[in-house]
């Protein structure tokens, strides 16, 4: 063993969580080391070559608003970009990009290499050095000891990873990388509760061997869009995806070979996600469905590999080949990689504080799939938060905990640390109670201030942001104070739009609230002094049009905040609290919520338990006061 150096923050892993963690910590000013198994696979996408989608796309924007990297890199390296849910309300719109998997990695590696305060190194971490319940550093398999008061473990699905294809199984991380075994064993020895999860991928096929004429084209949007608020250059040369379906024969082959699937042969122990079922799963659980969608997604510009989305499977390789032959367009497809299921260790996330520091070992943070989530975006979100908070700890700066009304990131982390999860956790818009507030269009308005405070947003960008905010406020104010009179032009316009004519003058904002009226119409009637940028106009329209609903959500948030602001003393002894139901007590002891609000979200903790807790806390506050 040799002393390989002293750092403030060590990040173990350079996947989607690791890179955001490393960058955030370094940007905050912490001397940061990133250790990864393979420097050629930084920010690798072992599953879909795609980033974003409902809820997840909003998260990418949130990461960006906090000064993270994911959005910027995908903006530069995608092969197609789409805005989803355009026919629905503003709250659920989201971007999704198909990534060029290789370019994405290369670009991300560049960014890391250019980051001040950040050192990149290849190496397998075998052990976290722990003394007196505090983390001291890490030890690699080549016997290098790196020292730091904080360590962020972001080892994804590598922890005791095991790949399963039919009845074949072997120890491996995703894409045949080495699994991380010793570290996982050590965490278990340190007393962490570990669960076994699994996920899967579909086969990849060679593009030249696909008959695209039998499929439907899925092009990207014509209008250029970007995740990042810093992106100014847009990719115009896009590559389409293609849609096809499974059919009767696909289902027949699966049914005949079900016992040969790793999933159904009883070999697998891990819990798979319901939202990402294998094709075997879909056929078994929904056997009345005559067909399932298959999306063909190119993996990049410089490769012929195509990802067969919808055909995730752990059937044996020969069956996978036969399956592909039954799908229109893939009859002659050459399988370049087989699909597989992967089983891995995750730590039970209720063992974390909302800062993502573990409760057991001071200074040890975990982020990403190791915490039981799935998805690059969920990983990135935890990464940036862990990076911010680890740096805060070392540098004695502000920590950052987002609440459920501030960001999907807040929803994600609160769910994990408060409720835990019994399957790989994926963000869904329905997990957010205030999703109208958590829109993809206002992520910057929600979080840029915080990102700036954390030191992750450059000055120039922040100035641009404040101007935007000001323009929005002024324009909303203008619409609320400006009266539109029922002049001939106005009546004509309203009639053209199919609305009922004005009886009297109305506020511009009230007129905008009519379903048929858009901001563009208002602009026509009462032009603003200077032309406003598109994103400002969009924001004004949303704020005014949905004001009623937004107000309602805000009121609920107010209520929630009150409980959120009631802190629970860190040293509370729940055994000392009379009257709390036994089940609730157990849960409270395990989760150790920071606030009464968080406590109330633990399942099994009832309103009466909360009432009693409030009284108990008050009792403590008062007896303390009377002792002084």
């Amino acid at each position: 063993m040799y002393n390989a150096g002293q750092y403030d923050v060590i990040v173990v892993g350079a996947g989607h969580a690791g890179v955001e963690a490393g960058l955030a910590a370094a940007k905050r000013g912490a001397k940061t080391l990133m250790l990864t198994l393979n420097l050629d696979l930084i920010a690798f996408m072992p599953c879909n070559p795609s980033i974003g989608g409902p809820a997840k796309g909003v998260v990418v924007r949130e990461i960006d608003a906090l000064g993270g990297q994911m959005g910027k890199v995908i903006d530069k390296t995608h092969i197609q970009m789409r805005l989803l849910n355009t026919s629905k309300g503003p709250a659920v719109r989201a971007l999704r990009a198909q990534a060029d998997k290789v370019l994405y990695q290369q670009e991300m590696k560049r960014v890391l290499e250019n980051q001040e305060n950040l050192t990149l190194r290849q190496g397998m971490v075998d052990e976290v050095i722990v003394e007196d319940g505090k983390v001291k550093g890490v030890l690699t398999e080549t016997k290098a000891a790196y020292y730091a008061p904080t360590v962020i473990v972001t080892t994804g699905t590598f922890m005791r990873g095991k790949v399963l294809i039919g009845d074949i199984e072997y120890e491996s991380g995703p894409n045949n990388q080495r699994a991380t075994v010793k570290l996982s064993e050590q965490l278990e020895q340190l007393g962490f509760d570990i669960v076994r999860f699994k996920t899967g991928t579909p086969p990849r096929v060679n593009s030249h061997t696909i008959d695209y004429s039998k499929t439907e084209i899925q092009p990207g949007d014509e209008e250029p869009r970007a995740f990042s608020y810093e992106t100014t250059e847009f990719i115009t040369d896009q590559i389409p995806c293609w849609l096809t379906y499974t059919g009767e024969f696909t289902h027949q082959i699966i049914n005949e070979n079900l016992t040969r699937s790793a999933m159904y042969s009883g070999a697998e122990r891990g819990t798979g996600p319901r939202y990402c079922p294998s094709i075997e799963d879909k056929i078994v659980r929904f056997n009345d469905k005559p067909r399932h969608q298959i999306f063909l997604e190119p993996e990049g510009r410089n490769t012929d590999e195509v990802y067969v989305q919808g055909l995730s499977t752990s059937l044996p390789e020969d069956i996978q080949k036969r399956l592909l032959e039954t799908v229109p367009g893939l009859e002659k497809a050459e399988m370049m990689r087989a699909g597989y299921a992967i089983e891995y260790d995750a730590i039970v996330p209720t063992q974390l504080w909302p800062t993502l520091e573990t409760k057991k070992i001071e200074g040890l943070f975990t982020a990403g799939q190791i915490n039981g989530t799935s998805g690059y975006e969920e990983a990135g979100a935890q990464g940036i938060m862990a990076g911010i908070n680890a740096a805060a700890k070392v540098l004695d700066k502000e920590t950052l905990i987002l609440d459920r009304s501030q960001a999907y990131i807040g929803v994600l982390i609160d769910d994990l640390v408060t409720k835990g999860t019994n399957e790989p956790y994926r963000l869904l818009t329905s997990r957010a109670e205030y999703r109208l507030l958590l829109r993809h269009d206002n992520a910057d308005l929600r979080l840029t201030d915080l990102g700036y405070q954390m030191g992750l947003i450059p000055e120039e960008r922040y100035e641009r942001f404040t101007t935007k905010k000001q323009l929005i406020e002024e324009e909303v104010k203008r619409l609320k104070s400006n009266i539109i009179k029922p002049s001939e032009d106005v009546q004509q316009l309203i009639q053209d739009l199919g609305g009922s004519p004005l009886k009297d003058g109305v506020r511009a904002s009230d007129l905008l609230r009519r379903p048929e009226v858009k901001y563009d119409h208002i602009k026509q009637l009462i032009p603003a002094e200077a032309t406003l940028p598109n994103d400002v106009e969009e924001q004004v329209e949303i704020i005014v049009k949905y004001e009623g609903y937004i107000e309602k959500s805000m009121q609920q948030v107010e209520k929630m905040r009150k409980m959120e602001n009631k802190r629970i003393p860190e040293r509370i002894d729940y055994d000392d609290v009379q009257g709390i139901a036994t089940e609730a007590k157990e849960k409270l002891k395990r989760v150790r919520p920071l606030s009464v609000g968080q406590a109330s979200r633990i399942s099994g903790v009832n309103p009466s338990d909360i009432s009693i807790l409030l009284v108990y806390i008050e009792q403590g506050v008062r007896s303390k006061a009377s002792n002084e």
């Binding site: 939202y275 990402c276 869904l428 048929e516």
Partner: protein
Amino acid sequence: MEQDTIAAISTPIGEGAIAIVRLSGDEAFKIANRVFKTKELTEVDSHTIHYGNIVDPKTDELVEEVMVTVMKGPKTFTREDIIEINCHGGMVSVNRVLQLLLREGARLAEPGEFTKRAFLNGRIDLSQAEAVMDLIRAKTDRAMNVALKQMDGRLSDLIRKLRQELIETVAHVEVNIDYPEYDDVEEMTHDMLIDKANHVKKEIHKILQTAKQGKILREGIATAIIGRPNVGKSSLLNKLAHENKAIVTEIPGTTRDVIEEYVNVRGVPLRLIDTAGIRETEDIVEKIGVDRSRQALKEADLILLVLNGNEAFTKEDAALFEAAQGMDVIVLVNKTDLELNIDMDKVKKAANDAPIITTSLLEERGIDELEEAIANTFFEGELESGDLTYVSNVRHIQLLEQAESALDDALNGIEMDMPLDLVQIDITRTWELLGEIIGDNVHESLIDQLFSQFCLGK
């Protein structure tokens, strides 16, 4: 300090003549003022008592005559502003006042919450903290027991069914949002949502209607017997009561004041009100009686309109029908043992849809038919078998009312052409409110529903 204003009945539930509704919180005065129509409660001195009327601001209907105690914080039990409303009319009227306050912005207090606030606001000594916690625990247990007991199994089944319908709808909307490209899931439309919302709303409305029946069961159906003098009204009361309660003579104008009698007709409790025969009169005493009859008629749930079959249909009879318009009416053509002189066609026309029963109270004929008609009017025959689902718990009623208005919000949103994902907020809210009634409000079940209902994923 907690900011919202809570309300609850603070006297033990029982037969006690006086029941108190207590309000505590920042808005106590404001909320009370909205329903107390006699004085500006915001302007009176603290710790004073005021007599006046509670009026439903929506309908302007008089709810109750009350005494209101106004106490400004912090010199109060909870250290917050407190209003106490003393009601005399027993449980039913006190419940009505409470419901009104809840509708006007108060929240139903949790068990022990007044005491909890008193403690949190420093009114109760530290040494009593444990006692406060015990109280909350005990009260919660008791309240749960009571609520459970009060809840009819059929009611909870019904609510479960409605929730299932709602959650399927919500899951459908969610799937469209979270999996926009999956084409095996039909896109939810405004029209589909209108149908669902309307259907559930109708069902909730029905349950709330039975709340009214619940009240009726406890209080009796206010049943006014009206008719010209001497047609046999008092005789009818005596027959239904199986007792000679009212004086019966041949002299028109015998009954001069309102006589009340509780009777049970085939399980339907009636509060029978015999009235003075309505006619133009110079007799001062009788005149007062007649005025009271008119009042009784207005407040009744059911009208038994008695005609004399032995006499022609008069203008006065016609005026009675007019006065009873829009109410539940049963028409009795009495004295059918005598010659039938009344024009039955006229009666039928005047009665419109109301059932007509021919009776001879003297010979005790037609009474069975009458009893059946009464039972049918209120319970459509259901009560006989005891087969009636009803809510009586104030908390449940409040939640149902909130659920109904959440559905209204949803329907409103649809009308305003709001996107479905916004409309869905109110549908989800309805689902949560109904869940609170049956004590099931786990958000996770939405996600479970999502994945069991649809085949999703990559």
